[in-house]
């Protein structure tokens, strides 16, 4: 077993420069990462599958383009790993579920098409909580991913494979999806950057839907700049997604250089109450102090409705939408079909019982119930009304703030198996992230320290709709003044 070369922990920006200056070829670069995955993924279990041969072919094509002076831009030749919920033509799309264990996608998601057009190499399917339902990746039907900082701990979820793979140097960056915190929370647990864009900025065409009004594809990376570049490559209006917004997509990287602050930063006072780990609180307050010393105005704001009700609202709306979105998984046209089913009802009930894991079934049952006759008004409709109030609450707060600061998670990464028995306890992990999805806002998690046990701590920054450029600038200012992003886990 060989140690992979130095490239594996470099930022994508650096790798892009190395490719551009011919210090390394795309093929060599990819081989470094495949070697790294071979070396460590047995213990990390971030990857569901890889298409090394296909990726090497694309890498060779990239090198040929570069040799001919026809490179496609800064992403040409860089591998990108995908959370196994995003369609890549010819690659498995399992959603980490037995239901889709053998499903191969016959089409590309829009984000995939855009990345291909930029010369990036779609490589590797990353583990997740089954159908993106979970906060620890323990709900994967295949295997639980481990946190590279402590292999006995969870990497977070549902994009746990994406976060762990980036943290462990197995891929320079990755795509994930975030419905209630599923990019930000694992990014925080794994000490990397995780960015969820404004709802509607990135096309959902090709993202296996969990909760249609909440899902967004976003970037997980080593640095804010990388996260910005990857976002820029996938963002933009898409005719195939009716919820996609015609918003201008600026050059996020260029804007990083131009926007320097100072900013008016709000701190939701409810987010610092009981249940917040003291070490996390200390790290986040230190970050707030950094901003204050840098000239930013730090002001306490109130989010009483979001802090009190967001989880309840989320679990009614998300499960309702999911119960409908997952109805298509029936073993009829694709997916797992139970053997020996005798009639049309039987085939559904047994195929789905065998194909879905426990958390997925639980959420489908809950979602079906809240939509069912006699319960719709009291549950789903009421939740959507409270959601309107939560959205208005955030809007009010943003009248006087450019961004909000908070911890990303109330606790650091917990041990594998610690929370599986209590679904409600697991849901309460999402307390800081979930309101953001209800309001459709952009948000980013950046590393801001470590616990005394050596587990990463994440700082969440929340921005105004379609103000990713400002959000990234606020995040970058903190990052560049600290060294957290240069620390990497030592895998034994």
């Amino acid at each position: 077993m060989t140690m992979a070369g130095p490239a594996i922990f470099e930022s994508a920006a650096t790798l892009s420069t190395l490719l551009a200056t011919r210090k390394i070829s795309a093929v060599e670069l990819l081989r470094e990462f495949t070697a790294r995955v071979d070396a460590v993924d047995g213990r990390v279990r971030a990857f569901n599958s890889r298409d090394d041969a296909g990726a090497l072919r694309l890498a060779a094509e990239s090198d040929a383009r570069r040799a001919a002076g026809r490179e496609l831009g800064p992403l040409d030749g860089l591998p990108v790993a995908f959370k196994d919920v995003i369609a890549v033509d010819g690659q498995p799309l399992t959603c980490s579920s037995r239901m889709l264990a053998n499903f191969v996608s016959p089409y590309d998601a829009t984000v995939t098409t855009k990345l291909r057009a930029a010369g990036a190499i779609p490589w590797g399917r990353l583990n997740l909580d089954e159908f993106a339902m979970g906060s620890s990746t323990e709900n994967s039907a295949f295997a639980p991913t481990a946190n590279p900082w402590d292999l006995r701990c969870v990497p977070g979820g549902s994009s746990g494979g994406s976060a762990a793979a980036v943290a462990a140097g197995e891929t320079p960056w990755a795509l994930g999806s975030d419905t209630g915190g599923s990019i930000r929370q694992p990014a925080a647990f794994c000490g990397i950057v995780g960015l969820k864009p404004t709802y509607g900025l990135v096309s959902r065409y090709g993202l296996a839907a969990f909760a249609s009004s909440l899902d967004q594809i976003g970037s997980l990376a080593r640095t804010v700049e990388d996260a910005a570049v990857l976002l820029g490559a996938i963002a933009g209006h898409d005719e195939r997604d009716s919820t996609s917004v015609r918003a201008e997509v600026p050059d996020y990287r260029a804007e990083l250089g131009r926007r320097k602050g100072p900013w008016r930063l709000g701190v939701p006072k409810e987010f610092f109450g009981a249940g917040l780990d003291p070490e996390i609180e200390a790290a986040v307050r230190a970050a707030m102090e950094f901003y204050r010393r840098a000239g930013c105005e730090i002001r306490e704001v109130a989010l009483p409705l979001a802090s009190e009700y967001a989880i309840a609202v989320y679990y009614l709306i998300a499960t309702a939408e999911a119960s409908s979105n997952l109805a298509r998984y029936d073993g009829i046209r694709y997916g797992h079909r139970a053997a020996g089913a005798t009639d049309a009802i039987d085939i559904y009930a047994r195929s789905r019982a065998e194909g879905f894991g426990e958390e997925v079934k639980r959420r489908i049952i809950l979602g079906t119930h809240v939509l069912s006759s006699g319960y719709y008004d009291a549950y789903y409709l009421r939740a959507q009304k409270v959601r309107t109030l939560i959205r208005a609450e955030f809007q009010n707060v943003f009248a006087a703030c450019d961004a909000l600061l908070s911890p990303t998670t109330p606790t650091p990464a917990f041990p594998l198996g610690a929370k599986v028995a209590d679904p409600l306890a697991m849901y309460l992990n999402d307390i800081y992230t979930i309101g953001v999805n209800l309001a459709g806002l952009p948000a980013i998690s950046v590393p801001c320290g470590f616990t005394s046990a050596g587990l990463p701590i994440g700082l969440q920054i929340i921005g105004r709709p379609f103000a990713e450029a400002d959000l990234l600038a606020v995040a970058s200012a903190y990052e560049q003044a600290h060294d957290w992003h240069r620390r990497h886990p030592q895998l034994p």
């Binding site: 709802y199 073993g331 019982a353 079934k361 079906t368 959601r387 459709g440």
Partner: protein, 96 residues
Amino acid sequence: MNQTSDFDIDYVANLARLALTQAEKERFARQLGEILHYVEKLRQVDVAGVEPTAHASPVFNVWQADEPRPGLAVDAALRNAPAARDHQIVVPRVVE
């Protein structure tokens, strides 16, 4: 809001086409009962006159012109089919 004890797991499981074991039914009924109890707190919120969130922003008429576009070749369409014959999906006999 109805009592959470009104939660009929058999009815819902049938609607959702999920064959649950007896143990699962008991476990889910208990866990979902707790979750439904938790969400009861939403009753405290005054939602009089509040519109439910339909979409992130009030946009209308998002459509495409009626221009046909190539679809999937039949082999690609059926590539993942658990059972197919004569280019059609096979399902157990449906009695209407």
